[in-house]
C-alpha cells in the first residue's frame, strides 16, 4: 500500500532536514514520515546563463 501525499496547488514538497526541493507528489518510503516534509512555493531553480558576457 503506497503512502501517497499530494501538495496543494502551485506547491511542492520540501524535505525539512536536507532542504531538498521535491515535486508535488510524495510516495513515502516505508519507514519515512510525512512529518519530515513541508509544502513550499514552486520555484524554477535552473541557473541561467550569464548573457552579459561579464
Amino acid at each position: 500500500m503506497l503512502n501517497y501525499h499530494k501538495a496543494d496547488e502551485d506547491k511542492v514538497w520540501k524535505h525539512k532536514v536536507t532542504n531538498t526541493i521535491l515535486s508535488s507528489e510524495l510516495y513515502l518510503g516505508k519507514e519515512d514520515s510525512i512529518e519530515n516534509y513541508e509544502q513550499v512555493e514552486e520555484v524554477l531553480d535552473e541557473q541561467q546563463p550569464n548573457d552579459t558576457g561579464e
Binding site: 514538497w13 515535486s23 518510503g29 516505508k30
Partner: protein, 450 residues
Amino acid sequence: MATNKWLSDLRVLKSNTDTLREHLRDGNVAAYDNDTLQTLINKVPQLAPIESSDKWQPDPLWKFPDPNGSDELKTIREIWDEDTVASSYTYRSICQIIGDYDTIDLKAGLGTTSRTNADTFILSDGTVYENVTTNSLVHTWDKSKDIIDSKGRPMRYVRIYSNSANYYIPHFQLTTIWCIFEMYKGITNYSHNDVPRTPCECLEVYGLNAVSSFAFPYALKKLVFNNGKFSGVVQQQLKFLTEAELNNISVFNISGNSNYGNGFNVHLKTLTLPSNSTNTSFSLDGYSLAYAPAIDILDLSVNTSVTSGVTVKNSYIKKILFPPNATSFTTQQLYTCKELVLPNSITTVSINGVHGTKKIVLSDNIITITAFQTVYELEELIIPFNYNATGTINLSSSTKMKHDSLVNILENLADLTGQTAKTITFGSTNLAKLTDEEKAIATNKNWTLS
C-alpha cells in the same frame, strides 16, 4: 517461393526503415515509430548538412624537392621528420614562407639584433650557410626554385640549426605560413610575442617550457604545443583556429569573458589535451567560445594528471571524453552533448541546466549528487546497482524519460530498510508512467519517491 520472396523484401524494407529512422534521430530530426519509409525519406532534408573535416590540411601543392635526393616531393613536415642534419644540432626549426621578397635576412628572422651564435641555414633554393656568426645574413633568393601552390603563391622554406638555445622564435614574421620549431628546450617563461603573424596557418612548437604571451597569430588554423605554461593568451586573435593539440601544458587559459563577442577560437572543433603535468583540474567555460560553433570534441581521455574536477559550462560541445582519474564533474548550460558517460573515478557530480543530453551514465562509484536537475531532453539515466549517493536526483524536468529507464533506476536503488529514508524525484509526468507496483519497488526499500 513467392511468399518467401515477399517476406525477404519486407524484412529488407523494415531494416532500411529502421536504419533511416535511427539516422534521422541521430541527426536530431523527429522520427517516429509509426513513420513510413516514405515519410522518413521526406524528412531527410531536415538533417543538417554533413560538415567536412575541420582538420587543418596544408595546401596540396605545398611540396618541395626531397633534400635527401629521392624523386618524391615532400612537405616541410616530411622534410622535418626525415631530417638527416638534425642529429648534429641540439635545436632546429623549419619555416615555410611565401615568396614575396627577393631577399631575406636570415639572422633577423631569428628575431634579435644580436645573434652571434653559430647558426646554420639550409634553404629551399639549395643554398646552405654553415656556422654563421654575424648579426646579419642577407640572402638573395633563387626564385626559379620557388614552388607554386594552388592559389598561385610562390613558396620557399628556411631550415635553421643551432647548438645554442634560441630565445627568439625564427618567425620571419610577415611571410611565414607554416612553421615547426624546436629551438628552446628547457627555457621557462618564454615570451611568445613574436610568433609568425599573418599569414601563418600552422604553428607547431616542441620543447618549449613556457609561454607567457602569445600574440598576433591572426590566421592560425592549427596549433600544436608540446610543453608549456600557456597563459596570457591574446584570445581574440585566434579567430580561425580549428584544431589545437596542447600537450603537457601546466596552465591552460581558455576560459574567461574578457574577449566576449570576439570569440576565442570561434572555429575550433577539436581540442586535445593529452596530458597536463601540474594542473589537477580542468575548466572550460564556454563564454570564451560564446556565439560560435565552438568545440565539438573535448578529448581528455588520456590526460592522467586531472585528478580532481572537470567543469564544462555554457558550452555547445558535442562530446566529452573524460580524463580517467577525474573525481568530480560539474556542468551547467550544456547544450548539444547527446551523451555523458562518467568514468568510475568520478564520485561527485553537479548537473544543472542541460539541454540535448539524452543519456547519462553515472559512475559506479558515485557518492555525492551535488545537483542533478533540469536535464530537459534526458531519456535514459543509468545509476549503479545499490545506488546510495547523498543528494537528490531530480528528473521533474526530464519528462522524456523512458519507462524502462525509470524502472531500472528504482531497481538499482539500495535497500535503506533500517536507515534514514532518502528521496528521489521523478516528477509528476514520470510518476504517471509507473504502476503502483513499480513505485513500490522504491518505497519498499525505504526510498521516498516524489
